[in-house]
Every structure is written in C-alpha cells, then in structure tokens.
C-alpha cells in the first residue's frame, strides 16, 4: 500500500489546521455560511437533512487495517456508531458536529487519510478496480497509476474550479469492475500489438441527469505520457466546458456537443504543448510509488482445495469468493447487504471486525467496492472457513454478490438534502421480496440499483434493473428502468413506462423477473434476455 512521504503528510496536516481556523471563524461569526460553504465542501463536509455529513476519501478504495480501525473509531466517537460506504469507494458519516470536524480530520491525518476533494468542482477521489493487485485477469496493478493521478490532482491549481466535478477511474482488465466508461475519464491498462503496456483512454462518460458512455479518445497512450495527456484532456474541458448551466457543465456534454473527434483533436493539439511542460513523473518517482504496491509475500505450495463439507459455507464460497492470481489464495467479497439492512452501512463493530480480518488474513489490506461492499484481496484458501465463520457471526456473510439482493442504493431522502424519494426502504422491500437465496441464485446475476434523485449516486442508469425516485406532486414515485450495465458491456438503462408507488415498483420488479425466467435461454442473465427480446414482453406484463 502507498505510504505518505513527508510532503503528503505536511500537505494533509496543514489542511487540517487551515480548516480548524475556518471552522473557528464560522462559529464565531467572522464568516457567513455563504463564505464558509465552499470551504467546508472542499473538506468533504456537507449539510444534509439531519446534520452535517462528512465524506472521507478512500483513494482507489484501498485501506489498511489501521485505517479501517480509525474509521470505526470515528463512527464510535463522533457519529452514531456507523458509517456508510459509498459508490465512490468512500465512507460517509451522517451525524457530524461542525465543532468536531477539525478533530476528526486531525485523527484521520494520523493514519494518512483526509476528506480533501470529496466535494466541489475538482478532480474527485480516483477510483479503481477493487480486485487490483489480486485479480487473475489484470495486466498489472492499476493502483500505482491511480496514486500518481491522486498526487497530480491534489490541489491542482488549474483544476480546483472546473466547470463541474470530475471523476476518474483506472482498471487493468477486460472485465470492468469499476464502471470505467461511466466516468469523466476512464483509463484501461492495455497491451498493444507490439506487446507494450499503456492506457486506452475514454472521456466524456457519466451518469446523472444526462447519462453517457465515454467514447475512446486515445486507443493507446504510452505510460510515460499519462499525466501530460490527462492534463490536456482537463485543459480542453476547463477551457470549453459550459459554466452557464450546471446541468450541462460536465465533460460529457462538451464531448457530446462538439463530438468525439473534435474533442480528441483538441486534446491532441493541447498535448503537444503539455508534453513539453515536464508534467510526467520521473521514472524514479513512479518506481518509488509502484514499489509501495508490490505484491505481498505470498506463500508458495499452498493447497488450492477448499473443504466444502459445510453446505452454507460452500454456498458462500461459490457466491463471494473470486479467483486470485496467486495459487492457494482467493479474493473474498464481504457483503454489506444483509437481507433487511441498509446497503453500504456498517457498524463500528463490523468495521473493526473487517479490519481485524484484513490484518490477520489479508496482508493488512482491504478494498471498498463501488457496489458498496468490502473486499479482502489476499486470503489463503485454507483460511476461508474461519473467515466465513467470523463474518457470519457478525452478519456479514450474506452470499448475494451480484444477485438481486446485492442492491446499490444511495442514501436517498432518508438522509440526502438533494433527494426526491427514499431509496433505502425500497431496497429493503425488494430484498425482503427476494429474500429466498435459492431464488436469488436461480435468477443469477441481476444488478439492481436505486437512486433517490436524478443525480444518480445509486447508479440507476447502470442497473440491469434501475430505479429512479422522483417527486410527483409532493409524493414519492419511482421510475423503473431496464437494460443498463456498468461492466465491460456498458449500456444505459431505459425507462420502461410510467412510474409506481413504492409497493407498486416492487410488484413490477417481481413481474419483470417472472417474464425473464419464462423467456431466458440457457446461461442468459436478466440483462441478456432483455437485450435479446426487447422491452415489449416486459412492458406488456407490467402495464397490461
């Protein structure tokens, strides 16, 4: 894992003290809320429905046990004993006092964490494949590049006031586990025909009010040009992105309006200049970063067999455990989606347990996924049964990864000031309706994603089944969408028809699922059947 050097630590410590003074001035009345708001947002502090909310950055979703314990400590000491893991691989606390915020940031700084650039019109937390460094299918670990981008983007003076927020994801496998094409910039590590490793760069994707899939801007970008080329991408956006209309300010609108080819031409032109500026990291500096992501000392000669004699354990292994690149090891997915729980929420005790498991069994490392689950990336297969028992005792062993019960849901109107409708109660009703795990497993991969407003924090456009909560004359109403995907087969879900009440949308999903099971061919997922037969049979069954 990356370790702060003296510059990283100095930057974060200085920011804490700066914010401490800003909070003092706000509480004393030296600053108005209008003056203070942009400053607190730069430190991840929002004012939500019930209290201040603090969003803490987890770069590329990677955490150590010590950092995870700190997150539990903050939940216990400063919040109401729980945290919410988000679709940006971050964590949010919902009940923060303004007067505590500087102390919280100071405590985070002691474990090399912060809340910088988790809000505002800047480059946000860089996300990455949650299986980075462990996946059997990756070309190389994408996190050193994500870290390089983090350092480059931190307090970047030119990109601190972009037309709108900017999100970057980095992956290194053909299987896209990070919704890469739905980011402002998506980077995929690829190998070209000459065998060289570089990046395929996508730009102009996103969800929100106007969802778009990012087109390829550069099919192969040499590693050595990464920062200068991304700088060029940002410069063109910063120069021509719209600032007159917040709803048209994201890079996806610019790329769409001027066209992929023209945007790419301007980027290439700008790149001729940025490449001369010495922006790219010296090889020695990159190697310093990369060395911190070196593979852990995997043991050799470990058995690959797993004792599956406990049937409940065997089901969990089938659903939650993924192939690792090192023989004898596995990747463990911890579900934060108990049947009647709150997607992404974890108590301080659960957070502590996961930290302990990472320290004891996973080389002190874990990941947060954009699907609001936690990953232990490097687990000996021989330890799986022990880990399962401990997770099960803590309510963390629901075997529902990528099934209909593994619902992504934003905080919705229960917490969020922007939301129009509640997401969590709906997720709970759907999970209850499909509580039978045998039925879930029979339905297979079915990604259901719920957003409580058009901002799409719940990624509803990328759901095989998506749900968008809207306000219809003061009442919560839910639009149903089918056919989306955030994976390598990226597609945007489409609205099926008129919206429903909360109970109505649960019934409609059940109807749609029954249509799927009646029409599916061998091996077809819900989304495959939907793509093959189209919306008509689903629509007819739902609306009559």
């Amino acid at each position: 894992m990356y370790k702060y050097d003296e510059y990283d630590q100095a930057v974060v410590d200085a920011r804490v003290e700066e914010f401490r003074d800003q909070v003092r001035r706000r509480i004393s009345g030296e600053m108005t809320e209008d003056q203070f708001k942009p400053l607190r947002l730069m430190n991840g502090l929002y004012l939500q429905l019930h209290a201040y909310m603090l969003r803490v950055a987890i770069p590329y979703g990677t955490l150590s046990g010590r950092q995870m314990h700190m997150l539990a400590h903050i939940a216990r000491k400063y919040d109401k004993d729980y945290g919410h893991f988000t679709t940006r691989q971050n964590i949010q606390y919902n009940w923060i006092k303004l007067s505590d915020a500087p102390d919280i940031l100071a405590e985070l700084a002691t474990v090399e964490m912060h809340a910088i650039q988790t809000s505002g019109n800047c480059i946000r937390n860089i996300s990455a494949d949650q299986y980075a460094g462990a996946a059997a299918d990756e070309i190389e670990d994408p996190r050193p590049y994500a870290e390089l981008l983090r350092q480059w983007s931190t307090f970047h003076p030119e990109f601190s006031y972009l037309p709108r927020k900017f999100k970057i994801a980095v992956i290194a496998a053909d299987e896209d586990r990070a919704a890469m094409k739905l980011h402002d910039i998506g980077l995929q590590i690829v190998r070209n025909d000459a065998g060289e490793v570089g990046f395929r760069l996508y730009a102009g994707g996103g969800m929100g009010r106007t969802p778009m899939i990012a087109p390829v801007i550069r099919d192969f970008l040499p590693k050595a040009d990464l920062l200068s080329y991304v700088e060029a991408c940002l410069r063109v956006y910063n120069r021509f992105g719209r600032r007159d209309n917040i709803y048209k300010a994201r890079i996806k609108i610019l790329v769409h309006e001027i066209g992929r080819d023209e945007y790419a031409r301007q980027v290439e032109e700008e790149f001729l200049h940025t490449k001369t500026l010495g922006l790219d990291a010296p090889e020695a500096e990159f190697q310093r970063i990369a060395a911190l992501f070196a593979p852990p000392p995997f043991e050799t000669g470990l058995p690959d067999e797993i004792d599956r004699s406990d049937p409940d354990f065997a089901i969990w292994v089938d659903q939650q455990v993924v192939a690792h690149k090192a023989p004898g090891y596995a990747i463990v997915n911890i579900s934060l989606k108990p049947t009647i729980g709150i997607p992404g929420d974890a108590s301080s005790a659960q957070i502590d347990l996961m930290a302990d498991l990472a320290t004891e069994y996973s080389f002190d490392e874990m990941r947060v996924t954009h699907a609001q689950n936690i990953v232990l990336p490097h687990v000996k297969k021989a330890d799986l049964y022990t880990i399962w028992q401990k997770l099960d005792a803590a309510g963390l062993a629901t075997p529902n990864l990528d099934l209909i019960g593994d619902i992504i849901a934003c905080p919705g109107l229960d917490y969020c000031a922007l939301a129009n409708a509640r997401s969590i109660p709906l997720a709970q009703k759907i999970a209850a309706r499909f509580a039978d795990l045998d039925r879930q497993r029979d339905l297979g991969e079915l990604k259901l994603k719920i957003s409580g407003c058009i901002n799409a924090c719940g990624h509803h456009h990328a759901g095989h089944i998506g749900i968008l909560g809207v306000d219809r004359k003061g009442e919560e109403n839910y639009q149903l969408l089918f056919g989306g995907s955030g994976a390598e087969d990226t597609s945007l879900a489409k609205i099926v028809g008129p919206g429903f009440s909360e109970d109505g949308v649960v019934d409609a999903i059940e109807t749609a699922v029954n249509v799927y099971t009646s029409l599916r061919a061998d091996g077809e997922r819900f989304v495959d059947t939907y793509r093959r037969v189209g919306e008509k049979p689903f629509k007819e069954a739902i609306y009559g």
Binding site: R26, I27, G29, E33, L47, L49, H50, A51, Y52, K80, N94, W95, I96, K97, L98, S99, I342, L413, D414, Y415, A419, R422, I424, P425, Q428, G474, E475, E476
Partner: protein
Amino acid sequence: MKIVTGNDLVTGDVTWWTGKGWSRHVADAVDVGADGEHIAHVEEAALRVNGPVVIDGLMTEAGPVPAHIKDRIRAAGPTVRTDLSIRPDFQIEKA
C-alpha cells in the same frame, strides 16, 4: 401555516422556531405567518441557526406537521433508523 426551520450552526441538529427560540421538536413550532423571512434573517445573523427556511406546515391534532415529506423526515429522523429518531412515533406518511 408557515414554519421556520434550519439547522443548529454547531451541532447541525434540525431545529424549529418556537416564537421565542429554537427547539429540536417540530411540535414546538409556531405559525409565523408573514414574518418568516424576517425571523430567518435575524436569527441567522445572530448565529442561532444555520440555513433557515420558511416551509409550509399543517396544524394537526398532534401539533404542527411539515407539509412536505422531506421536512417530515427532517422532523423525525431517517425512517430506516427509527432507533436514532428524536420522535420514533412521528408519522412520516401523514400530511
């Protein structure tokens, strides 16, 4: 009726204007009539509230209730964590 609500500057708690000060309980809210904007301005300037807004409310047998569901949820707390609610018995669905 018109109600003034905001958040406590320091704690972030949801608060309601009572005619004399601020309460965490919507049941203590009063109808401010046409004075809401003035009250909000004065109270915010005095740092006694953050982000005050004037909202529509209804007078019910149980006392004042915000008209919009978003404000009713603010009054009660997250509907999915009633253990954290300041008013677990508050009926979100009733307007």
